[in-house]
Symmetry: C2
Subunit: 757 residues, 2 copies
């Protein structure tokens, strides 16, 4: 290791900055250092003794001592002190301009050759040496008024939302971390009582039963709790939505009057006991039995085999006193399918009722504040009147009566009571997604890491990768916001005619929104690095608590299969002419005609205006849905014609039907987003909404662009243009990112995360 | 609601099964029921009174009472009792064959028309009526010996793995769920002491310091703990790998002898204090200072601003007594960059040392058994000898000496001590991934849900969607197994020459494996439904504990950018001719030539043999990597030539560089998998390994097939064929799924999940 000093020969001085950088860069190997040395030594105008000195500076096997380099840097800085402008723009210019330097043309040529070869032509290396700090320009302000956007997103129920924001920001709502499940359950029960006391629990019940007959406001209350704590959301949903909702939807007036008032006040905590250990998705085949005993006019509720015990039942492990139990109804020798009955499970002292066995499900991945449990019934007797008898009843004499003749149809009618749960879960999922995005975007604006040398470190939001991770998801949250408000409205206003359609909407949007939330939370967590891993920053609970959203209230994969099946039925209706009830017969032949061939001119258009146009985006989404549905129908038909039964035919085409269902849900979301933008009264919001719409749709098309290429719907050039346009849209939306998450209107106290407030 | 009885007219009897199904199916609307009725009524050979009776059965607004339908079914079953074969194959045949039925040709034609229109031609509806249960064939046994596969996967360190499996299955290792973080930390500390006592902690240390000088077996010990509890893995890694490893790698013999023996036995619990609140990924710019005081021959360690406190430091919150602190070394007026020093943080009574402030990081998303904390230093003095001085030292007189002249190069040399951590985290991630797959596949084999009517319910693993979710991930786990064993071997045997290459390997594989694990655990959790949400089934901890794997030991996105940068350097070396140290000059021009144009004949081949051939798969992966790297170089060059500095140029091309890095890592994994299969001695394992290899590679190409289409590397027909081939491979591998997870060799006691054991 050598201790060296700067050479005295003026002809050598200009090389100093280059030599310093060569060593300090640390990235040059021995061969490269050798090459620099040769180039310098070859310069004819350097004196032999200087040459020797410079050679000594460039010995790969005998590097200069660290303090020699420090001295060299000091020397350069000291002398470069008064240099300005062009002289600071590169290492060779800097070297040439040092005082006393007397560069010959050969020296200059040598320096420039070395500089170019090192890839150091730019000003970066010179700035680093001179320790110049450039200031990064602050990002421009948002292109719109976040308050106006917040009003738009809050929509019809703005007042209710504002009321809930204020209520949940109250001092009685205080998050605590690291609690045992027992303590957390008590916190959540207490919060739930606060909500009940304020009347939010009973909102959807009939006025004669203590409610306000207002499903829409109930759904808003449910959704808003998710910003505070998702265990609370689920406890609230179990008690008032599932337990109370089942009494409301499946029971008759006598049940409403007897049970709903106490349900709404939480004096009667209850369970929704549908799922069994052996049958989760396949509710039709649950095995719990309710056999009518005409002697005593009672139902005997019984768990016939161990796997038929009720599983994951919220409110069962600790707080529930009654349960709506779903069981196969048996009258005499006849089985009438799944029915719901009210069964007391604990007495006033909270001891299990005779014949009822209760177990705690124990530790879960999340939702630690919800007391999930298991229930077994051993010949438990309840009065005949405990059957929730809106759709069917058993007379005192033991006659089964129902206006709905088919077991299947009764089953699906009863199950439509579940739709409220799916709508609600989708809304809560979006609330979690928005919270995660708000936290990650705020952190990304504040946090800086790395940077060009000499400059301030760069905001995370200014990295392309960061924009790519967060902004398409932000656009998706906006798209889902419009779609879910539409769903909630359709749900509240649904009648018999469109109930099936609303069920399909709810199934598809629940699956799509909860998967989107899961994916988005994870990306946001990672974008917050180690901070995202700290419980106080909220990803821990949001991720854990909403993870099960993909499973409960209908497994997402199963729900998407339902969507696919309904697509086939819709498809059938399109061709309702010759034989109205033919399922798969005609549509297969006609699929191609109806969808038509892609337009070759459109397929080649790559200009930005076209790619962002709703005309193109909607057409692409519609084309994909129709074509996938048509080809699915063809594949099913050929199997069924070949003698396969429909179950196995559908099973073989499952991956295809998942694609069709996804295409359908995305088309729907885009349509609702477009309709929402179209009818936005505030013109100032439209440009950013249109960019978000384009980013949502284009990034979805980009994700599936292989399919569009395969279908001939886009050319290779267009596919590439779509990718580039997505990136451009990200950079255009980036200055609005913070304001777009502010417009979610989540108060700091509710958001809570220290990295975001 | 009508109470009806079966018609007496023999000509009407054949219609009964159809009428029953029409009502019970529940899916027919009023119009459809009407249409059936018309078709029946039009049949001329039916007597007027029978026609009236049948018409009564088909009144959409006055459906039959449930018990009438039950009676009708009883009637059909009773009379169909003795029917066989062809007569049971459809509803019309069943109707015609009922005793006393006297079908006329017109009746038969009418029945068949109704049947076809309802889409009920198959045997399904008839079987349902007759309640026939077909048995699903059991899946065939595996195509290979799982024990032989387990030996292959265990590889060179089979004995060590078996030893660890037995050790970790001992009664001292007992998982408990729902503990407070305090209790969990004590469990983990106790487990860690057991491992230390058995000598596993010190394995990698020099023999003169109580170790066995065996990095390879240390890595295996670390990896195997992940099957038991990931908090233990990380605590073990912090103590023996990071804290002890830093002393071992950055210190000299005097440090080894003084500290490693007590480190290996866990008598001296220690921390690795690198990350700061303000600087995580950007370690180069950490702000903690260590200033040399020549008067006292001490270093003064100091936290100059609050954001410079050490953050997320394992072992700091509760158990650590010493820390390796990374700080900017200052000698006189010179700053020499980041160095590591040993700083005592707690005394024997576990009180913080003077000037040291410690805070608990509190609740985290996972790793509840690891006591992460924060450290502040207020002018804390340590002796000069506490500098870990392998790469640089300060003499008593205050002279800074180092054989490495450049601050950068010293920094990267020191950082290479981090590589062990990356290799280890990748291995632990794969252990979690394998555990999740083993649990999900076992559950998928045991759990049945839904089924064709009359058949036993279907195993989840027999659903195409389920196969699509689990099997490509299983193939990826196998691919990673081969790649990571290669990485571990390269790491253990690395020398100065290939250390940079091993660092890149470790960076890329760590990022890829931990993302793969995260994705796979989530899919597996969802595939286990509600059971996957129960803590005892282990997804809760695996997901939460390994979530941070994507962030710590190098943020995955940052690591992938490193991979991309090294690709550019490699690329440069390929063209090392005229000017050896030119970075981006030539490669951009030559990129196209080097990569070449896709072969139009190859691009069109779609046969299965071709698609599964290693020739095609490897060529595709290599082509993608080279082409993406070349185009990345071109894009960077055009920006730099346009005057942009390299930092901003790279930032603008980040998404491109992520794609190039991913392509490179996948190419490498495939190559290692192929090499592993090639050298497998046991021929009986090759067929299934080849299928797994094809599934891994093809599913990756499928995922990115848009890119291959855009590049002209595959035609549309080939792209579709790839999709189909992935699905075919899934069905071919499905019978081997269970055996493939058994071959991971995870003992039931370690796997633990009740749903899998």
């Amino acid at each position: 290791m050598q201790t060296l000093s700067a050479p005295a020969d003026p002809a050598a001085l200009p090389f100093l900055p280059l030599i310093y950088v060569a060593w300090v860069d640390g990235d040059l190997n021995a061969q490269e250092i050798d090459a620099i040395r040769s180039r310098i030594i070859e310069t004819p105008s350097i004196r032999p003794d200087t040459r020797t000195a410079l050679r000594a500076w460039l010995q790969p096997d005998d590097p200069p001592a660290p303090r020699s380099l420090v001295a060299l840097l000091d020397h350069i800085r000291e002398h470069a002190h008064n240099l300005k402008g062009v002289d600071r723009e590169s290492l060779s210019r800097l070297g040439r301009a040092l005082p006393d330097a007397e560069p010959t043309p050969e020296t200059v040529a040598a320096m420039e050759a070395v500089e170019e070869a090192l890839g150091l032509q730019g000003g970066e290396a010179a700035r680093e040496i001179l320790d110049e700090h450039a200031s990064t320009p602050e990002p421009p302000g948002p292109s719109f008024d976040p308050q106006a956007m917040a009003r738009l997103l809050d929509g019809e129920y703005r007042e209710m939302r504002e009321e809930m924001r204020a209520f949940l920001s109250g001092s009685q709502f205080e998050r605590r971390y690291g609690l045992s499940k027992e303590d957390k359950r008590e916190d959540v029960l207490r919060w739930c009582r606060e909500l009940a006391k304020a009347g939010y629990g009973a909102l959807s019940y009939p006025t004669y039963a203590g409610g306000a007959d207002d499903m829409a406001r109930f759904a808003v209350a449910f959704e808003m709790t998710a910003y505070f704590d998702v265990s609370l959301t689920i406890k609230f949903g179990v008690q008032f939505g599932l337990f109370g909702g089942a009494i409301n939807m499946l029971g008759s007036e006598r049940h409403h009057k007897e049970y709903l008032p106490e349900t709404g006040t939480l004096e009667l905590p209850g369970c929704f006991a549908m799922t069994e250990n052996g049958h989760g998705s396949n509710v039709f085949d649950i095995e719990t039995e309710a056999r009518y005993d005409p002697e005593t006019q009672e139902f005997v509720v019984h768990t016939p085999v161990d796997r038929a015990h009720k599983e994951y039942i919220g409110n069962a492990a600790a707080h529930g006193r009654m349960a709506v139990v779903f069981a196969q109804l048996i009258v005499g020798h006849d089985r009438h399918g799944v029915h719901a009955l009210l069964v007391p499970i604990r007495d006033e002292q909270m001891n299990p009722m005779p014949g009822v066995r209760i177990e705690d499900c124990g530790e879960k991945l999340g939702l630690h504040g919800v007391d999930n449990g298991r229930l077994w019934f051993d010949q438990v007797r309840v009065p005949r009147e405990n059957l929730l008898n809106r759709y069917s009843d058993v007379t005192a004499e033991g006659e089964y009566v129902s206006p709905i003749p088919s077991v299947n149809k009764r089953f699906f009618t009863m199950l439509s009571a579940l739709v409220a749960g799916r709508v609600s879960v989708a809304l809560a999922g979006l609330a979690a997604m928005k919270s995660g995005l708000a936290i990650a975007v705020r952190y990304g604006e504040a946090r800086r890491q790395f940077g060009a040398s000499g400059e301030q470190e760069v905001r995370l939001m200014d990295y392309r990768t960061h924009q790519r991770r967060l902004l398409p998801r932000l656009a998706k949250a906006y798209a889902l916001d419009f779609a879910l408000r539409y769903l909630a409205e359709r749900f509240v206003k649904r009648g018999e005619k469109d109930s099936r359609e609303v069920e399909t909407l709810a199934a598809g949007l629940k699956a799509y929104a909860t998967w989107a939330n899961h994916d988005s939370l994870q990306e946001c967590r990672e974008c917050c690095g180690g901070q995202g891993y700290m419980a106080v920053n909220r990803f821990a609970d949001f991720k854990a608590d909403t993870d099960i959203f993909c499973t409960f209230e209908g497994d997402n994969t199963v729900l998407m299969q339902l969507v696919a099946k309904s697509l086939l039925a819709d498809y059938r209706r399109q061709f309702e002419d010759v034989r109205p009830f033919t399922m798969l017969k005609y549509l297969a032949d006609r699929a191609a005609e109806a969808v038509g061939e892609p337009n070759p001119v459109e397929a080649r258009k790559t200009d930005s205006e076209h790619l962002r146009s709703q005309e193109f985006l909607l057409a692409a989404m519609r084309y994909r849905e129709q074509r996938l549905t048509g080809s699915l129908a063809r594949r099913l038909r050929s199997r069924i014609q070949g003698g396969m039964d429909s179950f196995h035919a559908f099973t073989e085409c499952q991956n295809h039907s998942m694609a069709a269902a996804n295409a359908s849900v995305e088309r729907l979301i885009l349509e609702r987003f477009a309709a929402g933008v179209e009818t936005t009264a505030d013109e100032s919001l439209k440009p950013v909404l249109e960019r978000l719409l384009a980013l949502f749709a284009l990034s979805r098309i980009e994700e599936d662009r292989a399919w569009f290429l395969e279908a001939g719907y886009v050319t290779i050039a267009k596919s590439r243009a779509i990718r580039a346009e997505v990136e451009t849209l990200c950079t255009e939306i980036r200055p609005d990112a913070l304001a777009l998450t502010d417009a979610f209107g989540i108060p700091d106290r509710l958001l809570g995360a220290p990295i975001a407030t």
